[in-house]
Amino acid sequence: MKENMRDKTTQNEGTAQCACPIISSNDFSFYYGTTMGVKNITMNINPCSVTAIIGPSGCGKSTFLRSINRMNDLIPGVRAEGKLVVDGQDIYDKRVNLVNLRQQVGMVFQKPNPFPKSIFDNVAYGPRLQGITNRTALDEIIEQSLKASALWEEVKDNLRKSALALSGGQQQRLCIARALATKPRVLLMDEPCSALDPLATGKIEDLISQLKDNYTIVIVTHNMQQAARVSEMTAFFCLGELIEYDVTSKIFENPSNKKTEDYITGRFG
């Protein structure tokens, strides 16, 4: 715990001092074949913060998010230009260790997607990949992760149950726990609440505000209220471009760009 505290302080100091960002994108463009996904994105994301990305559908916000842990590589014919640096390393460098990158940059998807396995096996999937097979160690990680994702109390008695038997909200929290179990530094969330009811959404939002003390969270959302509630910084994307990136309160109260204002006030999107 103590260590934890110290860790936090150093990181906070880091943020305050040099503003050396954990994710920094410099003139980053991403193409699907010949069609452009996002273009010329330049933004820095600080550690231990919540950054929201908002924008109309098809504006490239998911593309950008998925570029951060190179999930877009799955699609054939994609290409990236410019620089996207995570933790001091350009992740589109040839020599990047994708496995380690994805372990450090966890992801939570739009629809809850637990594996058709038990709750335990779902959370243990990541740690097992890192070679942790010791049962006590696994138990500890799983308890920590489930507690961190506020699911522990609900499932601690039947960890052997199939994950598919959980409710949608629980499944999504399980997915967060699964992502946390690999001990990432960054957590990417791709509209994590869009498939959930308001109650479950509330729980996830509470969770996000708890998690931001320890993790850098980037969240893509359609829901502007949500962005306003949970995030410290907000980026507004439109047509593959970054229109405005600023402190959340500023974006929502006093946007500097006309397009942002139109979108916020509901004139388009």
Binding site: L74, L101, R102, Q103, M107, K111, N113, G126, Q130
Partner: protein, 541 residues
Amino acid sequence: MRPGIRIAIDKIFTVVAGASVVCLCLVLVAVLGPMLWRGGSAVVFKGTVEFRQMQLVLFGRGDEDKIVAESKQAQIARAKIYSTIERFKGGIDSGNLIEKARQIYRQFGNDLRQTNMSAEDVAELRSVTRQIRDRLESAFASSNTAEVNESLAYVLNFKDDPRFKNTSAAGLIGLAEQYSKDIQGINLAERQRYYQEIRQVEDILVELLGPAPGAATPALMMNRFGATRWDLAQKLLGRLLWYEEWIKQGPEQPMIRRLTPRSQRFAGTEIEGLFTYIQQNLPEMLRPRPTFYWQYFIDDSTPGHYFGGVGPEILGTLLLTVLAMLFVVPFGVISAAYLVECASDNFVMRIIRMSINTLAGVPSIIFGLFGLAFFVLFFLPIFGAPSKGCILAASMTLAVLTLPVMIRASEEAIRAVPQTYKEASLALGASRFHTFVKVTLPAALPGILTGVILSLSRVAGETAPVLFTGAVALGPVPKSIFDPTRTLSYGSYDMAVGDKLAAMVPHNQFGMVVTLVLLILCLNTVAIILRSRVFKKLAGH
């Protein structure tokens, strides 16, 4: 056109379309119904005491004491048949009697040489005896009653002759006495016919009741037992009771069949009553009892499948299919994985896809030719194995045959796994290989399994590819994969067309094919159930 007519035509169309589907269902019933019904009777039927004896002798099954006791009781009921026929044959089987008379005469001659009678006495006695013998022979051979009676009377004159008292020649007199008794009530004119027809009756009786007591054990296993099944016994009884003739109606016209009661053919003789006796006492003689012969599925059979079951065929079929699956599943799954996970749309891929489609369209007999030319004549000799059809060659041929089925099924199963599973795993830092093995494959497994079962059922039913590569109709149970084997599919063909003996046991013909069909339908049912459950599960997402 008026709307009314249009609607009416529409209705008719609906009915016709429905009728086509109903027609399909009827075809299914027509194909499966007779097979199931008649094939089922290979397993569930009324078994006779002969069946239980056969089981005891061939497979050492059942309580020996009980069966022996039961068969003794049956023999008591049968005894009357044999004694009646014996007596009747005594009257008509003249050849046998003539031989007997000659034997007695020779014996008597030998006896005479050892007595101390004078030579003249001996010569006279000999001539008298020879005369008696000759008259007796003529009586036996003749079909004229008056002549016979006259000859017999001549012989019986010597009945009280002291010269023959206590000599072997008295046997001749005895024969005459017996014969005069036997031929009472027999129309001697019909003797030849009687002789032939009683032989027929005896032949049928051998089929019905087994070899007569005291007769030598027949060489062929199929002749050692009577009717083992009550339905067969009924059929034989029909043949016993009714005499069948084919009558020519005239030139250029087909012959027609006429049945007459056999008792009529023997009217006035002792045999006449025998048929009613057999008819009434058949249950007593055969003791039918409902039998559930589940061992049909494990028993070996006698040649022509006359007795026994389909055990070696089932074993052979399973061996072939399981081996074929062992060959094809790794190739099928890996190919499917490559096609889904790694393939891009280029020229090489198109060639591969085209090959798979071509392979799926090749007729099964071509696989038979290929198996013969490649595996049997080329591949096996390379490894020093004998170049003949064997289980290994047949199963490899079947593996090639089912490869496209396997690839398509696995590909479909792997594609059906939601992309989100893969993404989740990759996002957690798993490699693509790890993701495939740990996430995609387990999720696709039920689908792949369905494909495996479907290929299994296809392979089990294939006949043409194994014709020249490893299936035989007759032969021992294989000892290694380098031996040929019997299979259900080839056995079904052989019993329907090739084997004349099998036509005598239709229940076994149908039993073989129904075993094959049931095996395949069971596999398919499992596959259908499995698939619907998979779809439900994946649809839940």
